[in-house]
């Protein structure tokens, strides 16, 4: 055996053992069995994929946390809104009992106003600098309020009707924000109910007016048909309370009396310029008798032509009542329209209207507050009646809010369950990665000891072999 052979064998072995010891030392120092893809190509792709998956899952986990905090904030606000609605319902029940005087009703109205302000603040709440009740529009105030004399006169939704889409799992989006409109506005439209005494009825057409509306029937002009010579008195424009085309005036020229519909006869003379004539329901017209026809005699039926105007926006805009089955009246402030049947219109006044299944929390509160604080000219009994009806509206909204809370709760459960799944997947992915990548320290230590021993044996054996030589025996 040549020296070169011994040297070659020794060096080859030492080189291999050094490499193995270095690799094992690297594994021991890093704790990783696979540090580079080349260390274990068969496992490398799996490890890389698992690590990518883990990073992706961590993002989903963070998004789910965002979604959950949004949901919790939404849920918290909704619960407070719900409590406020319950309080409103209690107050309305008290107010509708007719045992409270106007001061007490004012006071209840004041509390409802405070609750309205509170609810608006709740739905415009932010979580981590973004709004939670504006759907996908999280940067702008979801509910904008208009005020008159410092009081909220209307609340309009400015958020998005689409939910925000946050990625919470591969191909799955969810949202912690809420489309406020869907929670605080009931969307189960029914035929409008007209609660006043003007004689108007709901038209057969489908209106898009929502919630509580106040339709004003105002008098504009009264004219009289025929040749009786009777005319509107000076107070007619402002004082006539009749409306529609269903009225008759009767002039008894012999008895010198005038009767409106089925009302009491009122005496007149040729000098009567502005006398009030009322029917049995209390509607009044002012007439001028100074120009009665000279030859007038007996009982004369006179057609009463009334021009009345209908307004949904407190007189800002109006239309002339045209005695049709489907007359559209538009609220210029909201653009919403109400079909009314004006054929049976008989008197002026304010017509409270409810559109069941369309109430929204805020404008309902505005409406009942105004009702309680006497901002609407209606009788106590009508007010009581309206308050009772408002309790139904509150019930509608409450039902919607409760459904929203339930839905949010259910979604919260689902997303928390998803969070647990994601968390489990993260742990599982890490565990799988660890199994593939982490070094078994005991095994590494054992292997290292083995190669250390091989290393020493290689050196020892080379030394022994080289020591044995005939040279020692040469003289």
């Amino acid at each position: 055996m040549s020296w070169q052979t011994i040297y070659n064998n020794t060096m080859t072995s030492l080189r291999y053992q050094t490499q193995m010891i270095a690799k094992l030392q690297e594994q021991a120092a890093s704790g990783a069995r696979v540090l580079r893809a080349s260390d274990q190509p068969s496992d490398a792709f799996s490890i890389l994929s698992l690590k990518s998956q883990s990073r992706s899952l961590e993002v989903y986990g963070r998004n789910i946390s965002h979604v959950i905090t949004d949901m919790e904030q939404s849920s918290n606000s909704l619960n407070q809104v719900s409590s406020a609605i319950i309080r409103v319902k209690q107050l309305l029940t008290q107010a509708a009992s007719q045992t409270y005087g106007s001061d007490n009703l004012q006071s209840i109205g004041g509390e409802i106003n405070s609750l309205l302000e509170h609810v608006v603040a709740l739905v415009n709440v932010k979580n981590l600098e973004h709004y939670v009740f504006g759907g996908s529009n999280i940067s702008e105030l979801p509910y904008e309020v208009q005020r008159q004399s410092g009081k909220i006169s209307s609340v309009s939704y400015k958020g998005s009707t689409d939910p925000l889409s946050a990625a919470v799992a591969p191909g799955v989006t969810d949202s912690g924000t809420v489309v406020g409109q869907k929670i605080f506005q009931v969307d189960n439209r029914q035929t409008p109910v007209l609660l006043g005494r003007t004689g108007l009825a709901a038209g057969s057409g489908t209106s898009n007016a929502r919630g509580d509306q106040w339709l004003t029937v105002s008098h504009e002009l009264t004219t009289y048909g025929g040749l009786s010579g009777i005319a509107a008195g000076a107070s007619s424009v402002a004082g006539d309370t009749i409306a529609g085309s269903n009225h008759k005036l009767y002039i008894d020229a012999d008895a010198k009396t005038i009767t409106l519909d089925d009302g009491q006869a009122v005496s007149y003379t040729n000098l009567s310029e502005d006398i009030a004539v009322s029917n049995s329901s209390g509607e009044t017209v002012y007439v001028n008798c100074t120009n009665l026809a000279a030859g007038l005699s007996g009982l004369n039926e006179v057609a009463v032509n009334v021009t009345s105007r209908l307004s949904l926006d407190d007189g800002a805009t109006s239309v002339v009542a045209n005695s049709t089955a489907n007359q559209a009246v538009v609220d210029s402030r909201t653009g919403k329209m109400l079909y009314v049947d004006s054929r049976a219109l008989i008197r002026t006044g304010t017509e409270p209207i409810r559109v069941p299944g369309t109430h929204d929390l805020f404008n309902m509160l505005v409406s009942v507050r105004d009702l309680l604080q006497g901002d609407r000219p209606i009788s106590d009994s009508a007010r009581s009646d309206l308050l009772n009806k408002s309790i139904l509206s509150v019930g509608e909204v409450m039902q919607n809010v409760t459904a929203g809370i339930s839905s949010l709760g259910a979604r919260l459960q689902v997303i928390e369950s998803r969070q647990q799944s994601i968390s489990f997947l993260v742990d599982s992915t890490r565990s799988q990665t660890g199994q593939l990548q982490d070094a078994d320290i005991a095994e590494v230590a054992g292997e290292m000891a083995k190669f250390q021993m091989f290393y020493q044996m290689t050196l020892t054996s080379a030394s022994r072999v080289l020591n044995m030589s005939l040279l020692d025996f040469l003289q």
Partner: protein, 650 residues
């Protein structure tokens, strides 16, 4: 009786001992082959009776196994190649980082993750900044790796030139040895030491190039072929030089022939060619492909969206060539849509701009845009500049147009469209009125919705029971509302629903409202307008301009199987690329170890024959010592015999 026999024995023993000394002296000399003396008996020429004439040291044999030597040369080439490839591949592998800190994969995942995270909070300036920062880190990683590949490519070329220099030096040495060997042989000297040195040079040469030595190790002349080029022809050499082939690859040519060819393997030089012409371009191509797909995938969505600031007042493209658009990457015949919004009236008008890639230029497109109401467009400094007139804004969103095409409506009712189209392809919905009457009043007044193939998809009531403005859900996220008024039977209108507002690829290719700039790993970057103002990140494509739909589109675009990436998503493609490189490294490591083992075994076999075994030499030394002593005694005996005879004569 003379002293010639004794003398021949002494001389033979003396030369043998000298040879043993030489062997022992060169026991550790690299490339040295043991020499063995050949003793032959000699005839004295006596005519009467053959008694022998002593011994002659007739020849010095070089102990060599030609087959083993040939194999060793070949394996040296393999070892040279695998060593070179292994070290370079290991260098390339390190640029991706260790597993756990793989920077590009981390960058890509982080970028996708940041888009998803922003989707949960699209107006967050911190998360918008996070997306831009993640994108910058990603582009930085692409650029770093690409430039590293480029520097390795340069290194490989330099290395090839250095290796060729070494090859040329070695061939000259081999030719010189050949010349000396021929000279030695001509004067009767075997020249074994020269042959050993020459063969050692051939081994060195084999590490550099794939050589095929002819008549190695035994003959005086030697021809060495490297890749079919006779680089050594006995005493003549052919110098090589490195250069660029006509196809751009690194190649080799005989010096001054200027005929460079590639495709050679074997030896370090062969490895350099393989690395420079195959391995590195393949990696670079994959990296560029990945970068290009990231750019394309993100940009195709980003150009269509708007940021939290809404539509644009002005926008400029990147610098682009002024020639026809087909010279640009990614532009085909098609069209793109631009929406112009009158901020005073809220009216949104969508315009279609047709693109003919083979004839249109940047100026043509600018001209087409400039003719649209509410905006002006021009080309300056190789950029397309679009500016909205006062009171107008523009964007490229595929959002549904609020006003459908109402060219066939005779009633007074006005339809309006909302919602976000979720279909995967452009669609033109035909809506036809069924019945005549008033919206919200007439019974059985409806609208039928047909797709472009004429199939009825849905029928919605707009008569009694429908309230003006109520939103009706149509297919694929489209929503319809009808105003109060009349509709007549047979009236119709169309809704154009766009899956993409740019079928031509012009917007992305021009850099108008793109996220990334560039086309490959080396030049990918984040658009400066996003870096300056991350809120320009176009996350929304809906009419509200506040949603995060586009962010999810951009993220999911990178997560779906992509035909250009072998049906893999971007991250998997990168992971496969990294693990593929690891597999190459591991394969080279295995090959390297195997080759080393083969060489070790061959070297052992060679050393069994040609190596110096000290014990064997010592044993021989003992023998020749004894022979010398014996011959000396023999001569002494002869001398005494002669002396005795001489005494008798006295």
């Amino acid at each position: 009786m003379d002293y010639s026999i004794g003398l021949s024995g002494i001389l033979a023993a003396q030369r043998s001992i000298e040879l043993i000394g030489t062997n022992i002296a060169n026991a550790s000399t690299e490339g040295y082959h043991r020499q063995d003396g050949v003793l032959k008996p000699t005839d004295t020429g006596s005519s009467l009776q053959f008694t022998g004439g002593g011994v002659v040291f007739s020849e010095v044999r070089r102990m060599i196994d030609r087959f083993v030597e040939q194999q060793l040369v070949r394996q040296q080439s393999n070892l040279g190649q695998s060593s070179q490839e292994l070290s370079t591949l290991q260098r390339l592998e390190t640029v991706f980082g260790t597993i756990g800190t793989e920077r590009l994969a981390e960058g890509l995942s982080s970028f996708i993750g940041s888009l998803k995270e922003l989707s949960s909070w699209p107006n967050s300036s911190a998360l918008q900044q996070q997306v831009v920062t993640a994108a910058q880190q990603l582009t930085s990683e692409f650029q770093t790796i690409s430039s590293y590949f480029a520097s390795v490519q340069v290194d490989l070329k330099t290395q090839a030139q250095e290796l060729v220099g070494q090859v040329n030096t070695l061939t000259t040495r081999i030719a010189d040895f050949n010349s000396q060997i021929i000279g030695s042989v001509s004067i009767g000297v075997a020249g074994n030491m020269l042959k050993d040195q020459r063969d050692q040079a051939v081994y060195e040469l084999a590490k550099l190039v794939a050589v095929e030595p002819d008549r190695l190790a035994s003959q005086t002349g030697l021809v060495v072929m490297a890749w079919d080029i006779p680089i050594v022809k006995t005493t003549q050499t052919t110098s090589l030089e490195v250069g660029v082939c006509t196809d751009g690859s690194l190649g080799i040519s005989m010096a001054d022939a200027d005929y460079f060819r590639s495709g050679y393997g074997g030896g370090q030089l062969g490895a350099v060619f393989t690395l420079a012409n195959e391995v590195l371009p393949d990696l670079q191509q994959k990296l560029d492909l990945l970068a290009a797909e990231v750019i394309r995938s993100v940009n195709q969505w980003h150009v269509q969206g708007v940021g939290q600031n809404g539509s644009f007042s002005e926008l400029s493209s990147s610098e682009r060539p002024l020639g026809t658009l087909d010279a640009w990457k990614g532009v085909t015949d098609g069209s793109f849509y631009i929406r112009v919004t009158n901020q005073t009236t809220g009216e949104v008008v969508r315009h279609k701009v047709d693109v003919d890639a083979s004839s249109d230029t940047l100026a043509t497109v600018a001209g087409a845009l400039d003719g649209l109401a509410g905006i002006s467009a021009s080309v300056g400094a190789n950029r397309l500049n679009i500016i909205a007139n006062s009171g107008f804004k523009f964007d490229f969103m595929p959002a549904l147009s609020a006003s459908p095409h109402t060219n066939n409506i005779s009633g007074t009712s006005v339809p309006s469209i909302s919602g976000s189209y979720t279909g995967k392809a452009d669609e033109l919905y035909e809506l036809t009125v069924v019945g005549t009457g008033e919206v919200g009043i007439t019974e059985d007044l409806a609208i039928e919705v047909r797709d472009s193939s004429g199939s009825v998809l849905k029928r919605v009531n707009v008569g009694l029971g429908y309230a003006e403005g109520d939103v009706l859900d149509l297919p694929d996220g489209v929503a319809l509302a009808i105003s109060r008024g009349t509709l007549n039977n047979g009236d119709g209108f169309r809704i154009q629903a766009l899956a993409s507002s740019d079928s031509s690829g012009f917007l992305a290719a021009s850099g108008l409202n793109t996220f990334f700039e560039g086309s490959r790993a080396g030049d990918i970057s984040v658009q400066q307008r996003l870096v300056n103002q991350p809120s320009n990140l176009a996350g929304s494509t809906s009419q509200s301009m506040k949603d995060s739909t586009n962010l999810n589109q951009m993220a999911s675009g990178l997560e779906v199987a992509n035909a250009a990436l072998d049906q893999l998503d971007a991250v998997s493609f990168l992971n496969r690329m990294i693990s593929g490189l690891g597999r190459q490294v591991a394969a080279q490591q295995a090959k390297h170890v195997t080759t080393e083992q083969i060489i070790s075994q061959l070297a052992n076999r060679r050393d069994m024959i040609g190596g110096v075994d000290i014990n064997e030499e010592s044993a021989k030394l003992l023998g020749f010592q004894r022979m010398y002593q014996a011959m000396a005694r023999f001569m002494n005996a002869q001398d005494r015999t002669i002396e005795y005879l001489m005494e008798l004569v006295k």
